[in-house]
């Protein structure tokens, strides 16, 4: 989210899902909503039925790509080149929104100069997308009245993830397609409370509400409320904690509801780090790859067993309600409170609503949110005061950057951290399928889903399959510089030649043994979406 935050001010979707049916032009980029976000896709489908134009940027020919007016079938990891190329075409043809650029943005001249070198011919060479398609996509996007860019993890899960998001912001800004209903940038969130977890402070350099740790005034506010001094030093990112665990300077780790041993790339390295810790506590609802390395496992509570709130991808804060008593007797929030108390910092809340009241008092965007209000309505932040109705569309007036202006960012194509070569000739893309979810610890325990999709498959283009003499359901060995897995083949035209696709739902055939160690240097996001692999018949 650092990308949008840098360009626009806040790391959040600019619009609301309910506005989607009214869009005239949908630019879907690095997102496969019919599989990963089926309910979002319902909104988008409604727009398409009403006649919205569709441009899809995706190396796979997804459901949406099949129905697109233009399918930008880019090579994985060439997002910035595409975006710069589109901006180039728009400026060259005079399709930009000059008024918007003049009134609401800064640094335009720099980017104008910068994108000159991203002429269609060059971009075609880098991305594999034809000039004609690029021009048509640029035309459709810039000419639409209500144009929305919807992007997903195909944008962010690259080593240039943050910059990719900035590049998208550049495109929207150049056309002035932001700050109006049904017009803006929507980032689709992978997990239920990605937005909330970002908002509320479990980050090494920011306190709840994106308030920097480095800012003494902010620290003072929290110190006053919490009664202890706050360290002014930025903490370690998760990847750094794991690195330092291997270096033996980081000793004790508490993991709440995560499974880095399966979901982080380069799993072998992660597991080594977890093993090196002096003390590892994992709280989860199931045994996972990660709990194997724990010294103490604490039972977690599922969403049905506790009260609380989730914040969805459109900044909407919604209640989670306790339907049954926690199976282990205590909900997660109660466990943290108890531990805190045991360690000398009494934390006594009788109900999560009291925690929310504290959040509201310290976190400006959540300032007006309370359980009492949430019983009557859901609220989209920013909702600074008790009488604020919440915000459906961001930046209708000002951007939340200093000065209220959005900033064009100068970005260059860098490509993926690891490119295919003679030894590892395929690009592995990873992602989700509709029936399963992330590490699969939940969905693999749903009767029926395992009946439908019991095991992993690797998707491969028919031509590649013919070349390698692979037939449907053949068992393949897929290896990268970091590991090897066995997985069955699924031959499909959805894949372009040279690319293969796997999910990360199945520990038996885990794609994250293969994925690379490259990360986005700003957000620390791993490059899940592209690494080089070799595919062989076993």
């Amino acid at each position: 989210m650092a990308g949008l935050a840098t360009s626009l001010g806040a790391g959040a979707a600019t619009n609301s899902l309910a506005q989607m049916p009214d869009i005239d032009m949908l630019f879907l980029f690095g997102s496969n909503p019919t599989e990963a976000h089926p309910i979002v896709s319902i909104y988008l489908k409604k727009a398409l039925r009403k006649g919205a134009k569709l441009v899809v940027g995706d190396p796979r020919q997804t459901w949406m790509a099949k129905r697109a007016d233009v399918w930008l079938n880019l090579h994985p990891g060439t997002n910035i080149a595409i975006m710069n190329g589109l901006v180039h075409i728009i400026l060259k043809n005079g399709w930009e929104n000059r008024e918007f650029i003049a009134k609401r943005t800064e640094s335009f001249d720099e980017i104008k100069k910068h994108v000159k070198k991203y002429d269609p011919k060059t971009v075609e060479k880098i991305t594999g997308v034809s000039k004609e398609k690029l021009v048509e996509a640029a035309r459709l996007y810039s000419h639409a009245d209500k144009a929305m860019i919807v992007y997903g993890l195909g944008v962010t899960e690259h080593r240039t993830g943050t910059e990719n998001a900035m590049a998208i912001a550049n495109l929207a800004l150049v056309c002035g397609h932001i700050g109006r209903p049904s017009t803006g940038i929507m980032a689709l969130r992978g997990q239920n409370n990605v937005q909330g977890a970002s908002d509320l402070g479990p980050s090494p350099n920011i306190l709840p509400g994106y308030q920097p740790v480095a800012n003494p005034e902010v620290r003072e506010k929290f110190e006053k409320a919490w009664g202890v001094p706050i360290s002014p030093k930025a903490g370690l990112k998760s990847v750094e904690m794991l690195d330092q665990a291997c270096g033996r300077s980081f000793k004790g780790l508490f993991i709440l509801g995560e499974d880095p041993a399966q979901t982080d790339p380069n799993s072998n390295q992660v597991r080594k780090a977890l093993k090196s810790l002096d003390f590892l506590v994992v709280q989860d609802i199931f045994q996972t790859e990660t709990t194997k390395y724990a010294h103490v496992i604490l039972p977690g509570s599922s969403f049905a067993e506790k009260d609380g709130t989730f914040t969805n991808g459109e900044r909407r804060v919604q209640r989670v309600r306790k339907a049954i008593a926690p199976l282990a007797g205590m909900a997660d929030w109660q466990v943290i409170c108890k531990l805190s108390t045991l360690m000398g910092y009494p934390a006594e809340y009788s109900h999560p609503s009291e925690i929310m009241d504290e959040i509201a008092s310290l976190t400006p965007p959540y300032g007006g949110i309370s359980y009492e209000r949430l019983e009557r309505q859901t609220l989209q932040w920013p909702c600074p005061t008790k009488d604020h109705p919440g915000t459906k569309t961001l930046y209708t007036d000002l951007f939340s950057r200093p000065g209220g202006l959005a900033k064009f960012m100068v970005l260059d194509h860098k490509g993926s951290g690891e490119m295919p070569d003679k030894e590892y000739p395929f690009v592995l893309i990873t992602g989700r399928i509709r029936e399963h979810y992330n590490n699969g610890s939940m969905s693999r325990r749903v009767s029926g889903i395992m009946e439908l999709i019991p095991e992993e498959h690797i998707e491969i283009n028919p031509d590649d399959a013919t070349h390698l003499q692979i037939k449907e359901n053949d068992l393949l060995s897929v290896s990268s510089r970091r590991g090897r897995v066995s997985v069955k083949a699924r031959i499909t035209k959805r894949m372009q030649t040279g690319n293969v696709f796997m999910t990360f739902h199945f520990p038996e055939a885990l794609s994250n043994f293969l994925t690379s160690e490259h990360r986005d240097p700003i957000a620390g996001t791993p490059e899940y979406k592209s690494c080089a692999v070799k595919v062989e018949k076993t």
């Binding site: 977890a197 709440l256 724990a294 805190s340």
Partner: protein
């Protein structure tokens, strides 16, 4: 369509509405209830069940309120003798081809047809004649289809084609034998079905039911708890149906601001992990190579002790925590606070900064 204001009269009451509004919408807004069966506001108006038919002055025929746009000066009656007669007729015709076995029906207590039969006090026995005798279809893990209970309102067909755009089911047959089904009556598993259960959510009778919830209780037995889905970041709302402290079913919350009752396979059917036998229900402490069950006090005591020791020996920055975007806002806030107030470090991170 232009949005000029027009005036209409419903049951003698003067109402102002927008041009292009259907009679049904105008009536609903004015608090006048018109019964419907084939209507679901997630779908385009259809007009097949004819239940919402109203009498309009100057028209020989009744017109369905759901599809008919209101026009200026329309004089509408929603409860005239003719309207009532037709509604009675429609319920009885529907029941004339229905098993009428409510006592063992999964949808008992949650069935629009049952409600209407009660309200209009008819059973359709006066017609005699043919009744469907079609086999139950359930060659899939999630959806049971009892075509004999289908009233052919087309809601399942429309939600599958209009909303989900999966195209799994459509009408088959003609005339009296028109019935929604998959192409060539193949199993849903072979017919492109996404198993979102949207068809189940919109079915007004017991024709389409959730297979996993069958026999586990009926509408009146459940405590319904409105909550937010724990899978992806869309934030769909639904009801957890609870009986005896167990979640046995998920049903749609049609007022959900995000999803309006729409759900996907995981949201609607992905709940059984909650009661999975694999759940960790007691704290576990590793002793040697094995994990041994422990009490909360013992486990948390150990955790507190161990962290305190490390912190004391190696300083605040030797410890840290990963928070989760799977957990609630409150838990994320608490964990961040815990690390900063107890560990006294900023070593806290989550996977969500993407």
């Amino acid at each position: 369509m232009s949005k000029g204001k027009i005036k209409i009269k419903i049951n003698g009451k003067k109402i102002s509405c927008s041009e292009g509004d259907t009679i049904l919408n105008a009536a609903n807004r004015a608090g006048i209830k018109i019964p419907t069966l084939c209507h679901d506001y997630r779908l385009e108006p259809y007009g097949s069940c004819r239940f919402c038919s109203v009498e309009i002055k100057g028209m020989a025929r009744l017109l369905p309120a759901c599809t008919t746009p209101a026009a200026d000066n329309m004089d509408i009656s929603t409860d005239s003798e003719t309207v009532q007669r037709i509604r009675t007729r429609l319920v009885s015709l529907m029941l004339s081809n229905h098993p009428n076995d409510c006592m063992r029906c999964e949808a008992d207590g949650d069935c629009s047809l049952q409600d209407l039969a009660y309200e209009y006090n008819v059973d359709g026995s006066e017609y005699g004649g043919e009744r469907w005798d079609l086999p139950i279809r359930q060659a899939n893990p999630f959806i049971t289809y009892e075509p004999n209970k289908c009233i052919v309102c087309g809601r399942c067909v429309r939600i599958c084609n209009e909303v989900v755009m999966a195209g799994t089911i459509d009408f088959t047959g003609r005339g009296f034998n028109t019935v929604p089904d998959t192409a060539f009556r193949t199993a849903r598993t072979l017919s492109n079905c996404e198993f979102c259960g949207q068809c189940v959510s919109t079915c007004p009778t017991g024709a389409l039911t959730d297979k996993k919830g069958r026999g586990k209780g009926r509408a009146k037995d459940f405590k319904k708890v409105r909550t937010t889905c724990g899978y992806c970041g869309t934030g769909c709302n639904f009801f957890l149906n609870v009986k005896d402290n167990k979640v046995v079913k998920v049903t749609s919350d049609y007022n959900g601001p995000v999803n309006h009752g729409n759900l996907c396979i995981k949201g609607r059917y992905g709940y059984d992990f909650i009661h999975s036998p694999d759940r960790i229900t007691k704290p576990l402490i590793k002793k040697g190579k094995k994990f041994v069950e422990a009490s909360w006090d013992e486990a948390l005591g150990l955790v507190a002790k161990k962290f305190s020791e490390i912190l004391k020996k190696h300083g605040p920055d030797s410890c840290g925590a990963f928070s989760s975007s799977r957990c609630t806002n409150e838990e994320n806030f608490l964990l961040a606070k815990f690390v900063r107030t107890v560990f006294k470090t900023n070593n806290v991170d989550n996977c969500a900064r993407v």
